[in-house]
């Protein structure tokens, strides 16, 4: 389902569109509630829940104690009873105290109960690096969640998608992990319909068509991917940029389609290289389209090091220059 073109829009940042999605769904569905640390009066440390407490009250916008397993575990319980909790973990690097609840329960309650108990819940977390934050505030470990069956994992890259994907996530009958790239929370604005609309989970978007090489990216990495593609256009390299938007399930069809066209690929993510989703995507293309492959898939990713303190983070994060170097290697192979 996509938005009607005539609908009024607002010019929002990504974090505002997250807030807008929450307000929209809370308005529409009494079963939706928001829980987490500082999501209430404070409106969230990034203001993603700003004003919701005043609008919907303390029963539906709940400041919890400081305990991630408690947050996720109680959301599992609420969801099993039919509520639709949208739980926030303050930064994706702080999900881990609640990791057991995710992999042992959130991902499997449906399978365990053979469909009797389902968990229409969303776990939101600001995600990724680049904002000069302290240790543990810049993690991107989407690969953990993508390896766990039963979860869906969404990472938007535009205000429009953020709202549409979050609405889809809240309505989704399955548990969704919704990772919000905080580097682009306020980096730019976009037109976002006022009403409700869904952007389907599991569908990639081609952000730039091209024929020489496919650049697969998501979240905040879509920007440097686009920028590198633009830069290289001047050198006659025609890069296609595919924004995956959902990393579980991956849109294999879109990935393969683009790769069959170009025969070359660069995968970009902030997460460390080894064990990151670039490996998975590489495996997919050679599994489905080896005969089209003309060069090794280039992985332009974070390094296999703990995310450094911010004095060095610009060197850690993939950027346009590194993506461009990857594209060049793919094209020149």
């Amino acid at each position: 389902m996509s938005t009607r073109q005539t609908e009024p829009t607002q010019n929002l940042t990504l974090v505002q569109s997250v807030r807008d999605a929450l307000a929209t769904e809370m308005e529409a569905d009494d079963d939706v509630l928001v829980t987490g640390e500082d999501v209430g009066k404070n409106g969230g440390v990034f203001r993603a829940t700003e004003g919701l407490f005043d609008e919907f009250g303390g029963d539906r916008v709940v400041d919890t104690p400081l305990a991630e397993s408690g947050i996720i575990g109680t959301a599992v319980g609420m969801a099993a009873m039919g509520l639709k909790p949208v739980a926030e973990v303050q930064f994706s690097g702080f999900v881990y105290p609640g990791f057991d609840q995710i992999v042992s329960h959130m991902a499997r309650m449906r399978a365990r109960s053979r469909g009797r108990f389902t968990l229409p819940m969303v776990l939101r977390a600001p995600y990724g690096g680049g904002i000069r934050a302290p240790e543990h505030h810049s993690e991107s470990k989407e690969a953990f969640y993508a390896h766990e069956a039963g979860l869906k994992v969404v990472i938007p890259s535009t205000p429009y998608d953020a709202k549409g994907l979050l609405i889809s996530a809240i309505r989704d009958p399955d548990p969704v992990i919704f990772l919000e790239p905080k580097l682009i929370y306020r980096a730019f604005r976009g037109e976002v319909p006022e009403g409700d609309y869904e952007v389907p989970i599991g569908e990639a978007a081609v952000r730039r068509e091209g024929s020489d090489v496919s650049v697969f990216a998501y979240g905040a990495m879509t920007r440097p991917a686009m920028e590198a593609a633009d830069r290289l256009a001047d050198d006659g390299v025609d890069a296609e940029v595919v924004d995956l938007r959902t990393v579980s399930p991956l849109d294999r069809e879109a990935i393969v389609e683009s790769f069959e066209k170009t025969g070359r690929a660069v995968v970009v993510h902030e997460a460390p290289k080894t064990g990151g989703l670039a490996g998975e995507i590489t495996a997919i293309v050679q599994e489905e389209a080896l005969l089209y492959q003309e060069a090794p898939v280039q992985r332009v990713t974070g390094f296999d090091v703990p995310y450094p303190l911010y004095a060095m983070e610009d060197y850690y994060m993939p950027n346009a220059a590194r993506v461009a170097a990857g594209i060049e290697e793919a094209v020149e192979f």
Binding site: A67, G70, G73, V76, G77, M81, H105, R110
Partner: protein, 371 residues
């Protein structure tokens, strides 16, 4: 006084002493209810014994027996109202039984069949939770949902079961803390059976009682003789009443520590003789809840040898029928593995399921089963 010196059981609630003599106020239970309680305990004991031998005979996988714990399980479960919920660990077969989970289903589960994990519609029992204490936050969330959705101020309660070992996990702490903060209609029922596999209660925590851990969450903790079904019924009933409709200044949740003992092994894979003395086991067997309740019922002329024999016979048949039913259930369809992962299969999962079907077709199921 240091907690090291205090007698950890001095404040324990009791109704029957070890001989079945009344030493406290008995709860208000009808003759039928008392007999039902007795029968369920007998049924649970018999089921437990048979299940252990099924495992020994290779007819079932690892099984966690609960003999000795029938008093705590049956009596607490009987105190619930129909709409209340149970969130069990893996050892609450008798609770599940009382709450309407068939023995056949419980057997299927321990026979490795996921269908045993699907509670029948209308049965307000959550699936078995294997990771210790991880079900506690669920129970808090469920009770919280009940409270949020309830309009008349008396929400349905949620009773969560776990062991003594579970009190050491972070999830115990977080689940109970949330319950205190959001004042949820929960009863946290700790089956303190003295052992977490080979680790005795005394090495699990330095606190004198487990009940006192409730202090940390601002609500009440109660210690009860968990092998005294009438005392268990009483404290559970009171806790449930408070969960639904607390007095002013009271918080809804309660932590109940039911002091008891597991007579058998931790699971059929465990050999308790490695870590505990027979004398200790014998000491606790003297507190067996079943003869205690039986003596109480005989004393009130609710039971005699004939009725006991009748009950034993009917229990025997019921267990045998359940085993028969479970064992004659056709094995699950292997392709069902791919179902219920998501409401709708993802394309990749569908592809995997198809490839799997294809391999089975090509090579036959023997190819999967031979190593």
């Amino acid at each position: 006084m240091s907690t090291l010196e205090r007698d950890p059981r001095e404040g324990e609630v009791r109704v029957l002493d070890e001989n079945g003599d009344v030493v406290g106020d008995a709860p208000d239970l009808s003759a039928e209810e008392l007999l039902a309680m007795y029968r369920q305990m007998k049924l649970a004991r018999r089921f437990d014994t048979r299940a252990v031998s099924l495992q020994r005979q290779g007819r079932m996988g690892t099984f966690p027996p609960m003999s000795g714990q029938e008093g705590a399980q049956v009596a607490s479960a009987m105190a619930l109202a129909d709409d209340d919920w149970v969130v069990p660990s893996y050892r609450e077969h008798a609770v599940s039984l009382v709450r309407g989970v068939s023995l056949e289903r419980t057997l299927l589960y321990w026979m490795g069949d996921e269908r045993g994990s699907r509670m029948a519609d209308g049965v307000n029992v959550f699936p078995v939770a294997v990771p210790i204490a991880s079900q506690i936050p669920h129970a808090t969330g469920m009770a919280w949902a009940n409270k949020l959705r309830n309009d008349d101020g008396t929400p349905d309660a949620v009773v969560c079961y776990f062991g003594d070992g579970a009190t050491s996990e972070g999830d115990f702490h977080e689940g109970l803390n949330f319950a205190g903060v959001f004042d949820t209609p929960n009863v946290f029922f700790c089956n303190n059976n003295q052992w977490a596999i080979s680790v005795p209660r005394s090495k699990q925590t330095a606190s004198a009682t487990l009940a006192q851990k409730a202090d940390a969450y601002g609500f009440e903790g109660v210690q009860v003789d968990g092998m005294d079904p009438l005392a268990v019924y009483k404290v559970t009933e009171e806790a449930l009443a408070k969960a639904r409709d607390p007095d002013k200044g009271e918080l809804r949740p309660t932590l109940i520590e039911a002091v008891q003992y597991r007579f058998g092994a931790h699971t059929t894979a465990d050999d308790p003789s490695v870590y505990r003395e027979d004398a200790e086991v014998e000491e606790w067997k003297a507190k067996d809840p079943i003869p205690r309740l039986e003596r109480y019922l005989r004393g009130r002329d609710l039971l005699d040898d004939d009725r006991v024999a009748d009950i034993e016979e009917s229990v025997e048949t019921e267990v045998a029928d359940a085993i028969e039913a479970a064992e004659s259930t056709t094995r699950p369809d292997p392709s069902s593995m791919f179902e219920h992962v998501y409401e709708e299969m993802t394309p990749e999962l569908r592809a995997q399921a198809e490839r799997f079907a294809d391999l089975r077709e090509r090579y036959g199921d023997e190819a999967f089963l031979d190593d």
